[in-house]
């Protein structure tokens, strides 16, 4: 089991909630004070650098035109961390390929950082969330197909070493592809792809890439992971190793329950602040018509729930919080139910959680939780665990409510 620490680099100083319609896309940047932003970026970078000292993997991502995540260019953050850290693996999860008009440029950026970091890049590709459509001015219709075409071009760019090749696809055209540098890792950096459904997991498995799932919780995790495991078995005639799957949840560990609860409640800012109206959460062609119709009717579509309770989110398997013993038991229970995974992705900082609180939780995780998770995974046969998971009864009583489907991408 490998563990990764993640923060979205939020700008938490928002105006009164009833004074704006959306935290994404059209919240005017007059609310972003560059002085404050500068301090925040440097704090977040320090926390990532602390991962290097503590021994956790570093995970980062990007979003656009939003206070929830101030990183509009994750490769730049990755480049800084490549130079400022020495040992940590650097997971970018990920590059929003359908919204990047030049996949070859993505291949170049990732190769560059891989070389500077001496082969520490783990390269994620994502279709991206619906709110990105307006910011990127890209129609999200057939976004997955577009992502896979960009993926194919990038992998070919990374692995072709005998001069230019030609690529004239449905969306991307390059006639002289010959990137410099080539990646440090051979044949290329490990590839991660986010998965939102049983069907979208299958092509990820066929490529043997790491399939990552965000916040699907108990209600949906088995369906998605099973899609991967079935696809892997079908394509390769063997069971998927645990290290091909990853799960992201919010995670806070305290020395006692009270401290843990306080920290976890602060992390919930990430969900509470995600005020997004339908015009941004339902761009044309992103969701299949039944989901889109629901958003129009107001059944879902306000992003993650804006009034989450900690108890509810913990019950869903979206938040792991407590003492080290409690968090180990929570993750273990979810891990067994899901059929297992080899990467624990933790959102460990959000909102107004202080650096010292974040650091305390990271250290407790590293010292007291991770060793037990490693031992658990090391002594597990993936095929047996999958069988047990399939036999385990469905967790009842977990209401998905208005939890937006796009959020598991």
């Amino acid at each position: 089991m490998k563990s990764w620490w993640f923060t979205e680099d939020c700008y938490p100083h928002l105006p009164e909630e009833d004074t704006y319609r959306s935290i994404r896309v059209d919240l005017p940047n007059q609310h972003c004070d560059p002085e404050i932003a500068s301090d925040l970026y440097n704090r977040y970078l320090d926390l990532w650098c602390a991962c290097d000292e503590i021994g956790l993997g570093i995970m980062l991502n990007e979003h656009h035109q939003t206070a929830t995540c101030m990183v509009p260019a994750a490769p730049i953050m990755l480049g800084i961390l490549a130079r400022q850290t020495k040992n940590a693996r650097l997971l970018i999860l990920g590059n929003p390929l359908p919204n990047r008009n030049q996949p070859v440029r993505v291949a170049e950026e990732m190769a560059l950082v891989d070389v500077i970091s001496k082969g520490r890049v783990e390269c994620g590709f994502v279709r991206s969330v619906p709110y990105e459509a307006a910011a990127a001015n890209i129609l999200p219709y057939r976004g997955s197909d577009r992502m896979w075409e960009a993926h194919d071009l990038i992998l070919k760019a990374w692995t072709t070493h005998d001069g230019p090749f030609n690529f004239e696809g449905e969306w991307y055209h390059h006639r002289q592809v010959n990137i410099w540098p080539r990646p440090y890792q051979q044949p290329h950096p490990p590839v991660w792809i986010t998965m939102g459904s049983n069907g979208s997991a299958r092509p990820v498995a066929q490529h043997k890439h790491v399939g990552a799932v965000f916040l699907a919780g108990y209600p949906r995790i088995r369906d998605v992971f099973d899609g991967y495991r079935e696809g892997y078995l079908e394509a390769h005639g063997e069971h998927a190793p645990l290290d091909r799957l990853a799960y992201l949840g919010l995670c806070y560990i305290g020395e006692n329950e009270r401290e843990a609860e306080e920290g976890a409640r602060k992390l919930l800012w990430y969900m509470e602040s995600n005020k997004v109206p339908p015009e941004w959460s339902n761009p044309p062609g992103y969701h299949p018509p039944p989901v889109s119709a629901n958003v129009m009717r107001g059944v879902t579509g306000s992003g993650v729930p804006t009034k989450p309770t900690l108890e509810d989110q913990m019950m869903r398997g979206n938040v792991f919080a407590g003492t080290p013993d409690q968090v180990f038991e929570q993750i273990k229970a979810f891990w067994e139910y899901s059929g297992g995974f080899g990467h624990m992705l933790m959102m460990g900082q959000a909102g107004f959680l202080s650096d010292s609180d974040a650091l305390k939780s990271m250290t407790l995780y590293k010292e007291e939780v991770e060793p037990r998770l490693k031992e658990l995974a090391a002594n597990t046969d993936p095929a047996e665990l999958w069988e047990k998971s399939k036999a385990a009864p469905v967790r009842e009583g977990i209401d998905l409510g208005n939890f937006a489907p796009e959020f598991v991408r």
Partner: protein, 250 residues
């Protein structure tokens, strides 16, 4: 009917001179009362653009000119001549492009609250961004009488799913460049048939001022503005709309 190997839904009704009716982003309109009245004098031929009203979008359909070539084939296959071509909103854009490409089978062009060109500068929002507006705001700019706007809470789920699919199709054809073809103004001189614009006075999606500027781009084109109507004058003022058409086209 089958066109380009695709199964295209085409409504045909009425008799008289052929009138090819190209609907806008909201989907088919040939079932509306205005079309019944037009059918008293003309033979209406009203295809559903692929992707609209629950139909499939062929993978290679990505732009307005895919519709243009589809309907050029339709005109050939049905061997229609002396056709009145009438297009609404994005169907108006399609009609203008079609007339530019080949108007030998056409006798008259009628564009209703049509998009298709850029009339202002690069920072002018000539055409409201329908994909970025809250539902209530969209209703305000689309309708003179906002009470006519459909309420998604009252639309049955099956119908709402069709609306969702239609919205996707609209996105496919019009997303970028948004609702216009930068090259079209440089080609409109090719339109030599009588051309008329009909516009809803209260249209906030594309204003009458936009319509007037579009109208100036086509030699000899004229324009009628219909009061108490928004983006769909044929729906809000069907009688005034049809009277205007009869006056123009006989």
């Amino acid at each position: 009917m089958e066109l380009q190997g695709l199964d295209i839904n085409v409504v045909r009704k009425g008799s008289g001179k052929p009138l090819l009716l190209l609907h806008g982003g909201g989907g088919p309109i040939a079932q509306m009362p205005f079309a019944d009245r037009l059918a008293e004098r003309y033979e209406i031929i009203a295809p559903t653009h692929p992707g609209f009203n629950g139909s499939k979008i062929p993978k290679h359909f990505t732009r307005i000119d895919d519709l243009v070539y589809l309907y050029l084939d339709l005109l050939d296959d049905l061997d229609l001549t002396d056709v009145i071509l009438m297009g609404f909103s994005m169907g108006g854009w399609t009609a203008a492009e079609l007339a530019v490409a080949n108007s030998t089978r056409l006798s008259r062009l009628i564009l209703v609250d049509s998009v298709g060109v850029k009339v202002g500068g690069r920072e002018d929002r000539d055409i409201a961004d329908v994909f970025a507006l809250p539902g209530e705001r969209l209703a305000e700019i689309m309708f003179h009488d906002v009470s006519l706007a459909p309420n998604p809470h009252e639309v049955p789920d099956e119908q709402l799913q069709i609306v969702a699919g239609t919205r996707t199709a609209l996105g496919v054809y019009t997303w970028d460049p948004y609702m216009h073809n930068p090259k079209l103004p440089h080609r409109l001189h090719r339109i030599k048939i009588p051309t008329h614009f009909i516009w809803g006075a209260s249209d906030g999606l594309v204003t009458p001022e936009y319509g007037a500027k579009f109208c100036e781009m086509i030699n000899g084109a004229t324009m009628t503005v219909i009061e108490e109507a928004g983006h769909s004058p044929q729906m809000e003022q069907p009688d005034r709309f049809v009277d205007t058409v009869f006056e123009l086209a006989g």
